[in-house]
Amino acid sequence: MSPYIIETGGLTRSYGDICALKPLDLQVPEGEWLSVMGHSGSGKSTLMNLVGGLDRPTGGTLQVGGENLLALTEDGLARFRRNFVGIIFQQHHLVPYLTAIENVMMAQYFHSMPDEAEARHALERVGLGHRLKNRPGELSGGEQQRVCIARAIINSPKLLLGDEPTGNLDHKSTIMVMELLKELRGEERFTVIMVTHNQDVAAWGDRTIHLDDGMLVREERMNCQ
C-alpha cells in the first residue's frame, strides 16, 4: 500500500492547444491538508477537478486512493466520486428548490440511501440545527457554505476538495468555515485539498503548492500554527 492518497506522474490536461496543466508530479500523503495557490488560469482548478474525478487528464498517470482514474468509465468515476470524494464549491451549488436537509439527503441518496436522522445530525454538527427546513435562498452565504460542508462530509469521504470555499465570504464567515473544517478534519481524518488565492486561507494547511501557467513553481511547508 502506497502511503500516498494521491499520486500523479506527468499529469497533463490540455483543452485543444491550450495546456491547462503541464506535466505534474505530485504526491499527497493520507491525512494531509494541501493548499493549492495560484492566479486564475494557473491550472489549480483543473488539478482539483482531475483529482476529484470530475475531469479526465489528457496524459500521465493518476492514482487516487489506489484507484487508477484513467481506467474508470464514466459511471465508474461517478461511483468513485460518491464513495471517495466530498466537494465544496465557491458558489455553494445547492439545489434551490430543496431545503437544507434535503440537499444533504440528496447526497446520501446518490451514495446509498437517504437517512434523515443522520442528515440532521450532520447539519447540527455544522451549527445549522435550527435551519433544517430552510431553502438555500433563505440562508446567508456562510450558512449556505456550511450546508455545502455538511453535504460534502455526509458520506465520510477520504478526500475533501474545496474550490475557493471562502471566496464569497466575509472575514468572519471565513474564519468560521475554516475552523469548522479543521474541527471536522480532526474527527473524520480526511485528506483536504483546498484551492485558494488567499494567503491566509492557504496558511490553514500543512503544505502549500504554488501553480503558475500550469506548472508547479514553489512548494512550502507550514509548521503547526
Binding site: 466520486r81 434535503e102 439527503m105 440528496m106
Partner: protein
Amino acid sequence: MLFRLLKNSFLKRPKSVLLVFISIVMGASVATAFLGISGEISHKMALELRSYGANILLEPSAVEGGGFLREDDLPKIKTVFWKYNITGFTPYLFGVADFSANGKRERGIVSGTWFAKNLEVAGEEPSVQGVRGIAPWWDVQGGWPAGPDEAIVGAALAKRLGSAIGGHVEATVRGKQQRFQVVGIVTTGGYEEEQLFAPLITTQELLQLPGKVSRVQVSALTVPMDAFGMKNPAQMTKEEYEKWYCTAYVTSVAKNVEEVMAGSRAKPIWQIASAEGSLLKKLNSLMLLLTILALVASAMAVSTSLMASMAERSPEIALMKAIGADRYQISAIFIGETLIISVIGGMVGYLLGDQLAGIISRTVFNSTIASPFWLFPTAIISAFVVAFAGSVAPLRRALSIEPVRVLKG
C-alpha cells in the same frame, strides 16, 4: 428521496411542467378521440353490414316466372348440396296496401313472410326458418305473430298510423280487406320500418297471389373470396369447376340455391359489403395516419419544452453528477418525472379525448358514441409514447452534461 426530489421539482417549476403536461394531454386526447371514433365507425359499419345477415338474395329472373318465385320450391333449399352451410332463409311477398287504423289512412307496404316456420322436408332434419332466425337484430317490442291475422308493424309506419301494440290495422288491397291485430312494433334501422309484416299465407290471400313469393333472403356460411373464387365459373376447366363448386364461396352457394328455385336469380350481397369494407379500411387508415401525425407533433412539443427546461436545469444536473450520481440515477429522476406527468396526462387526455370524440361524432357523424373500454389503456399508452419519444433527446442532453464546464467557479 426520489419522490421528494420529483415533488419539489414539480412545485418549483410549474410552468415548464405544465407545458409538457399540456403537450402530452393534447397527444393523448387526440389519439383517444380519433381512435375512439374510428372504432365506433367500424362498429357502426359492422352493425350495418350485419344487417345484411342474409348474404344471398334470390329474386325472380326477369326472363321467366312472371315476376314471382314459387313458395313450393322453398323447402328444396334445404336439400341442396350446400344445405348444411345454409343457416337460414326467409321468403318475402311484397304488396302496396292502404292501411287504416284509429281513423287514419296511410299507404304502405304489406310484407308477407315466415316468422318462425317449422319446416319439414322429407329425408332431412326438421328446422325452423324465417325472419327470427335470419334477422336477429330486429328489435321487436311486444311479441312475434303467432296466428294468421296477427302482424308486426314497422316503427315508422306505426307512428304514422298512431297504432300501438294490441291495436288493429285494416289493410286494403284492390278492394280486398284484411284486419290485422298488432302484436309487435319492430325497429330495424332500415326500410323495414315502413312495412307491415304479416304471415305469408295471409298476405298471399290479401294480394291474391297464392303460392307466390317476391324474394328470398338466404344466410349462408361462406369462405372469404380469394383470387380463385373470383374467376368466372363459365371459363373454368372441369377440375377447377369441381373445386369451385365444392368450395363454399358465396358465389357457388348462390349458384347452388339458384339451381333449385325455378325462375330465380341469386345475387350475393357481399358486393355491397366488400365495397363498404374497403371504404372502411381507407377511412381507418386515414384516421390512423392523422393519429400518428398528432402523436408525433405532440412528442415534438414535449421534446422542445423539455429541452428548454433542461437548459434551465443544467447546473442542477451537473451538481448531481459532481456529487456522484451516475447515469442510471440521473435517468431515473427524469424518467420518473416523465412517467408521472404522462400517467396523469394520459388520464386527463382520456377524459378530454372522450368528450372530443363525443362532440365530433355528434357534429360530423350525427350519432352518439359509446366509448369502448380499450380506449383507456390506449390513451395511457399514447401518453407514454409521446412522453418517452419526446424525452429521448433531452435525456441524452442531460446525460452528456459535463459538470466541470457547468459548475465553473
